[in-house]
């Protein structure tokens, strides 16, 4: 019997699923059912390629992922020290830190500041110790049948982070998902669940990093439930190597009068899709979404952001910015839905791109779907302000090229990075931003 490469790759998932039977048998029944359901969905639907590639995947082709075989690492491929983490991510002093290497918890570099009235722990542990609570939330926001990547994550996730609090959490929680260097491509399925109770305050930083330069695949899902009046600040840093793939889903559900602030920073990955799907589930909630993506080489980064205003008096603000170099491509698809009855909604979204190369391409598609009355909605996009004009302008005033480029990039990025309230993190991201565009280390003239 001949098989298409895609079918062969799907068989690989079946083998992996079967291989984990023993591990699953230790899990509660509801979780086993959930995984079964998710895997059934994946087997039925597969990846959105070829004829299954719909509008949502118009600009992003996941064939390289669908056709490849990724191994689930049995054990971490590397050990890290505290110095290693500080060198990679020098901003988490005083924070709780939870590290996973190749999907496995790394206690030697983790330090959880366990406050009263709160639970910050490994998801695996929470499933054992707080089973019914986790059961009430896990996969409730990010449903396994959302798409192939969520289905696979639900099927295969091993561990991750669980945060529950009903008070302000004093220290931010830094979750680090590391993939180490392997000879063959590996996959990890990080899973993060945050439940912020009434009036709780949580700051979550997720960092995705690779230790090597070889291809790997990360398929993360982050669910965030915001109770009434709660505040969650969420930073998501994608710093994986430029040969890797990342298809992720972030799903914040906002209760009444809650505030969700997110900053996504994407400087890594070769092929990335981040599906940020915000639900305004309670009246008066506020979502403030900012993103900065930096692409070069042949990177392809796709941000799909949807904000679903289901209840009245909600407010959302979205500002995404991209700096694109070489032959890279960035896709931004933003949709604001205002459901019937979500009156007095106030929504604005804007995506701006700065092209450093005429071979780079930005596709920006903000859209509004409004089914309610008395709303205030707007959007804007700049597909490609070419940097040359601005560089010439700065240079014509006597500023050398390198300084001009730095000023321009720093300035363009500042509208996003100035919103980063943790100073050490902001400084790190500012430095990372200028370093991410190596041509401005040497100067264009060189």
């Amino acid at each position: 019997m001949t098989q298409t490469p895609t079918a062969a790759a799907t068989d690989r998932y079946v083998d992996q699923f079967n291989a984990l039977r023993e591990e699953r048998e230790k899990e509660p029944l509801w979780l086993r059912d959930l995984r079964r359901e998710a895997f059934d969905y994946f087997q039925r639907m597969g990846w959105p390629i070829d004829e299954k590639r719909d509008e949502a995947w118009k600009y992003t082709d996941v064939k390289p992922i669908a056709r490849a075989s990724f191994r689930l690492p049995d054990a971490p491929g590397a050990a890290l020290t505290d110095e290693d983490i500080v060198r990679l991510l020098p901003f988490d002093e005083g924070m709780s830190r939870v590290v996973f290497i190749d999907g496995h918890y790394a206690p030697e570099v983790s330090r959880i500041r366990q406050p009263d009235h709160a639970s910050v722990r490994r998801l695996k542990e929470a499933i054992q110790q707080d089973e019914s609570f986790v059961h009430g939330h896990l996969a409730r926001y990010s449903a396994p049948h959302h798409d192939a990547s969520v289905a696979l994550n639900t099927t295969f996730f091993r561990d991750g982070v669980f945060i529950y609090t009903d008070r302000p959490l004093s220290a931010p929680v830094h979750v680090v998902y590391v993939t180490s260097e392997h000879a063959d491509p590996v996959v990890t399925y990080p899973r993060t669940l945050v439940v912020a109770g009434t009036n709780a305050e949580v700051t979550l930083i997720e960092s995705y990093v690779s230790l090597g330069t070889r291809n790997h695949f990360t398929d993360p899902v982050t669910e965030i439930a915001l109770g009434e009046g709660s505040h969650v600040t969420h930073y998501r840093l994608l710093l994986e190597n430029t040969d890797s793939y990342s298809i992720g889903h972030v799903r914040p559900c906002l209760g009444p009068d809650s505030t969700y602030k997110s900053v996504v920073y994407e400087a890594g990955s070769g092929l990335m899709r981040l599906d940020l799907e915000v639900l305004i589930e309670g009246p008066g909630a506020f979502a403030d979404l900012r993103g900065l993506y930096l692409t070069r080489g042949k990177q392809h980064l796709d941000n799909l952001v949807s904000i679903d205003h289901a209840k009245p008096h909600g407010k959302s603000r979205l500002y995404y910015k991209g700096i694109l170099d070489d032959e890279s491509r960035a896709v931004f698809g933003g949709t604001v839905y205002v459901q019937p009855g979500a009156d007095k909604t106030d929504a604005y979204q804007e995506d701006k791109n700065l092209l450093l190369s005429d071979r780079a391409e930005a596709d920006s598609k903000p859209s509004l779907e409004i089914y309610a009355d008395d709303v205030k909605c707007g959007h804007g996009a700049t597909a490609g302000a070419v940097a040359d004009e601005a560089i010439f302008y700065l240079r014509s005033r006597g500023i050398d090229e390198q300084t001009a480029s730095r000023l321009l990039i720093k300035g363009f990025a500042s509208e996003i990075l100035d919103e980063v309230g943790i100073e050490a993190l902001r400084v790190f991201l500012e430095e990372r931003t200028t370093q991410s565009l190596p041509r401005f280390q040497a100067g264009l003239a060189a």
Binding site: F392, L394, R395, S396, R397, G398, I399, D400, G411, E415
Partner: protein, 261 residues
Amino acid sequence: MAQTNHNRPILDIRDLHVSVGDNEILRGMDLSVSLGEVHAIMGPNGSGKSTFTNVVAGRPGYTITKGEIIYEGESILGMFPDERARKGIFLALQYPVELPGIRNREFLRTALEALREARGETKLAIREFNKFLEEKAKAMDFEPDLMKRNVNEGFSGGEKKRNEILQMSVLDPKLALLDETDSGLDIDALKVVSRGVNEFRGPDKAIVLVTHYQRILNYIKPDFVHVLIEGRIVRSGGSDLAQELEAQGYEWLREPPEQAA
């Protein structure tokens, strides 16, 4: 004080031919500008006025196929725009660029520091700079708040042009090229811009003002007026030439098609 040699030109354009793609825009332009002088270059759309100022400032995208640009006795053809600026050349852009995230104050301070360093001058303390900038901004009728805003972002057309003249006044070049600084200005903005240029004017400065209309020359009286048509200077004269052009247009100066040589 050093003696200024008014006989030796600060800018000498010799038989300049410039193309954009396959299109030859300047076709043998000659011009000589000395310190203390204000030159107006007038001409219809597409005559090569902006090409000329851009090429002197070193903007990329133009190919010089023949001729020379001599500034202070040396060719500047191989120099980058920032090198030219550090030697004292300033271009007020026809379409000033918006710089998101870069504040006016930061922009001007960075530029001034680069120029002061090139001139061998010491750094200005922030307080000194702020005071200096405040005075300059006031002279251009700018609210102090405008200096905290991003360069040209959300500025009106008039504000953008005034901002160019403010930059000129802060950076204090030797040679200022003004590319249609008057276009799109209402009469009040035109007066402010002209006042700025007249204050800048002096025995150790040279100004080349490129314009389509005679109007600005009512406020800035040029020493010389040149008419640029199809990439060549076809007529030069005193400020009365501008009046003549205003009355008669440019057509009478066009070369009659291929008369007997």
